[in-house]
């Protein structure tokens, strides 16, 4: 009798738990839809995240269950290793330089492009500008090595005619990092521009018309209309960039560096690769990688918090 009475109960009389059950049953197909994706996340994202525990072990790859717990020993070893501290320094140095030099460029390009009235030209220019974004670093590295070839490279010849010296950029400790910065800007600036462009396309044209009637010149319009319109995007890009502060560009450096420039170009990721994959020192290299991930996480939490506090939108 009680069972027969239950379905008749109006929704507002249901207890929280009953309502929960009812909702879950109602949405059963949605849960079914999301299940494979969540299983994927569990297996390929979360299991490796929990796999980071081997940083607290002396991991035995041949017999996992024979590994011993060593607490923070791996991390202590890490911080006492000058080679690692050098890679940490290089990582920050390269990524901060990339950010300082590379971050404003897409904004400037987007603002400049926004002033163009010839739509066809604009479209072609955009298309060409972000072409390198879709080219792999393998190919880019091939191009770079070709242009910087010591004997036949076009850029080598150009540099020689300017400086009068035979510069071998790829093996030169002072030139390697600037080369990384320039080629990174080359590859990424177009795509960055598109992101700001998407934000600019949302600006109401009436704002510009009104400003023109009020006699505001182009320059004024840019400062007072265009720039505020893309500020939220700038903030978001800044936050995402800060998350990347420990990613100095693994693919790029991995393709271009050599033992000759390890002093300036070896970053955490390349170090982890050499120690972990090539020398199979799993625990130690995992500790290095985990240290990196934690810094990235802390960075994004801080920056997102600051962004929200200062009245901007964060990424969540």
């Amino acid at each position: 009798m009680a069972a027969a009475a239950k379905p008749a109960k109006p929704a507002y009389e249901l207890s929280g738990w009953e309502r929960f059950k009812k909702d879950v049953v109602r949405d059963k197909w949605l849960y079914l839809l999301i299940l494979p994706g969540m299983l994927f996340m569990l297996i390929f994202r979360y299991i490796p995240i929990f796999g980071n525990v081997i940083a607290f072990m002396d991991f035995n790859p041949y017999n996992m269950w024979n590994s011993t717990w060593v607490g923070f020993d791996q991390f202590i070893k890490l911080f006492n290793k000058p080679a690692f501290m050098q890679t940490f320094y290089n990582t920050l140095y390269i990524s901060i330089l990339k950010m300082v030099c590379g971050f404003p460029i897409p904004i400037i390009l987007a603002l400049m492009m926004n002033e163009m009235r010839n739509m066809k030209f604009k479209k072609v220019a955009q298309t060409l500008l972000y072409l390198p974004h879709f080219i792999s670093w393998v190919v880019m590295a091939g191009l770079i090595m070709n242009f910087l070839d010591p004997s036949t490279g076009l850029v080598t010849a150009l540099l020689k005619s300017i400086t009068g010296k035979d510069l071998q950029v790829l093996t030169d400790k002072t030139l390697f990092v600037p080369m990384l910065i320039i080629t990174d800007i080359y590859k990424t600036m177009g795509w960055g521009t598109i992101i700001y462009f998407a934000a600019l396309s949302g600006v109401d044209p009436q704002l510009y018309e009104a400003a023109e009637i009020d006699g505001a010149r182009k320059w004024k319009q840019m400062i007072n209309i265009t720039l505020p319109a893309i500020t939220p995007t700038i903030v978001i890009m800044l936050i995402l960039n800060c998350n990347n502060i420990v990613n100095a560009g693994f693919d790029q450096i991995f393709m271009l560096y050599s033992a000759l420039v390890y002093d300036v170009a070896d970053i955490i990721d390349t170090y982890v690769y050499r120690i972990g994959i090539q020398k199979a020192d799993y625990s130690f290299s995992t500790a290095a990688g985990m240290f990196k991930s934690i810094i990235a996480l802390v960075m994004i939490l801080i920056v997102n918090f600051v962004a929200k506090k200062t009245g901007n939108e964060g990424i969540w």
Partner: protein
């Protein structure tokens, strides 16, 4: 007319001219490396070693391509990459849509928790070694599944997809629901057909990722005949001597042989598919950015 004259001052005119000139130059800078590579690949080996090839090939011939296509690894590389790209893109895009759709429903119990779980994977990366050990533990080493599975769904694509689903009016689903359609039915026969453009965008992002993937091969694949194209290419770029021998070129006595033409030819062969498809699909990339913004 009078009004127009006031609007464009001399400074603004100069800026306009400068602006167009600047972007013309920039476009040339973007195109030139690829052009140079193509010209180099059509030049003779001797001319390439002397250098000085700028705009047109020197000693035009097709030997480079004959050599490049003699290398069996090029074919196996294309085969692996095409299989991985097609399978990964089809499966990955479907999974992304299936994951994003329930997340776009605010009525879903636990939806917020699931969303946070997805987002967290974006801001905290597991790292290279644990991911490597996972693949090793589940026995996917030297199996092209290791090139496909780990890249199927990205949190970023999920967010783009989810914000698109949010923009579909609820009323469209309501009428179907009244007719007795389940959520599963609604998703496959109403939502997916409506989302073609966004799905195309996600598919393209995913496809480019798979096509350009090099490092997964380095980590997981041992047998050369299973290498992805990028790994084959990299190998040819760094071990030119070996690559030339494989390609049947008579390596000259000098140890410093620098087969720029072979390198250029390999780059061209592996990049041309992208360059051909690119102009037709690039508008979808822009669309994706527009929909997702950067934010979910």
């Amino acid at each position: 007319m009078e009004k127009n004259k006031i609007k464009t001052s001399t400074g603004e005119k100069i800026f306009t001219v400068f602006n167009y000139a600047f972007f013309t130059l920039l476009c040339l800078v973007m195109l030139y490396p690829f052009w140079h590579e193509i010209m180099l690949s059509f030049s003779s080996l001797e001319a390439s070693m002397k250098g000085g090839i700028f705009l047109w090939p020197k000693g035009f011939n097709l030997d480079t391509y004959k050599s490049v296509f003699k290398n069996p690894n090029i074919y196996t590389g294309f085969r692996t990459t095409i299989i991985v790209t097609i399978a990964g893109t089809a499966l990955g895009t479907l999974l992304t849509a299936m994951t994003a759709y329930p997340l776009s429903k605010s009525r879903l119990r636990g939806g917020k928790v699931l969303m946070t779980l997805v987002l967290f994977t974006m801001i905290f990366s597991a790292g290279m070694i644990p991911s490597f050990l996972l693949i090793q533990t589940i026995g996917f080493m030297d199996n092209i599944l290791a090139l496909i599975l780990p890249g199927l769904v990205s949190a970023y694509n999920c967010i783009i997809m989810k914000s698109f689903f949010l923009s579909i009016p609820e009323s469209l689903e309501e009428s179907a629901r009244i007719d007795g359609a389940t959520d599963l039915r609604i998703f496959f026969s109403i939502i997916l057909p409506l989302s073609k453009a966004t799905i195309a965008t996600i598919a393209l992002f995913t496809a480019v990722g798979y096509w350009n993937d090099y490092f997964s091969t380095v980590l997981y694949i041992r047998s050369v005949d299973k290498w992805a194209l990028q790994a084959v290419l990299r190998n040819m770029l760094t071990n030119t001597q070996q690559a030339m021998q494989q390609a049947g070129v008579n390596v000259m006595a000098q140890t410093n042989t620098n087969a720029q033409t072979i390198k250029a030819g390999t780059i061209v062969v592996s990049t041309v598919p992208i360059l051909i498809v690119y102009p037709f699909v690039q508008k979808y990339f822009v669309k994706g950015v527009m929909i997702g913004g950067v934010k979910g």
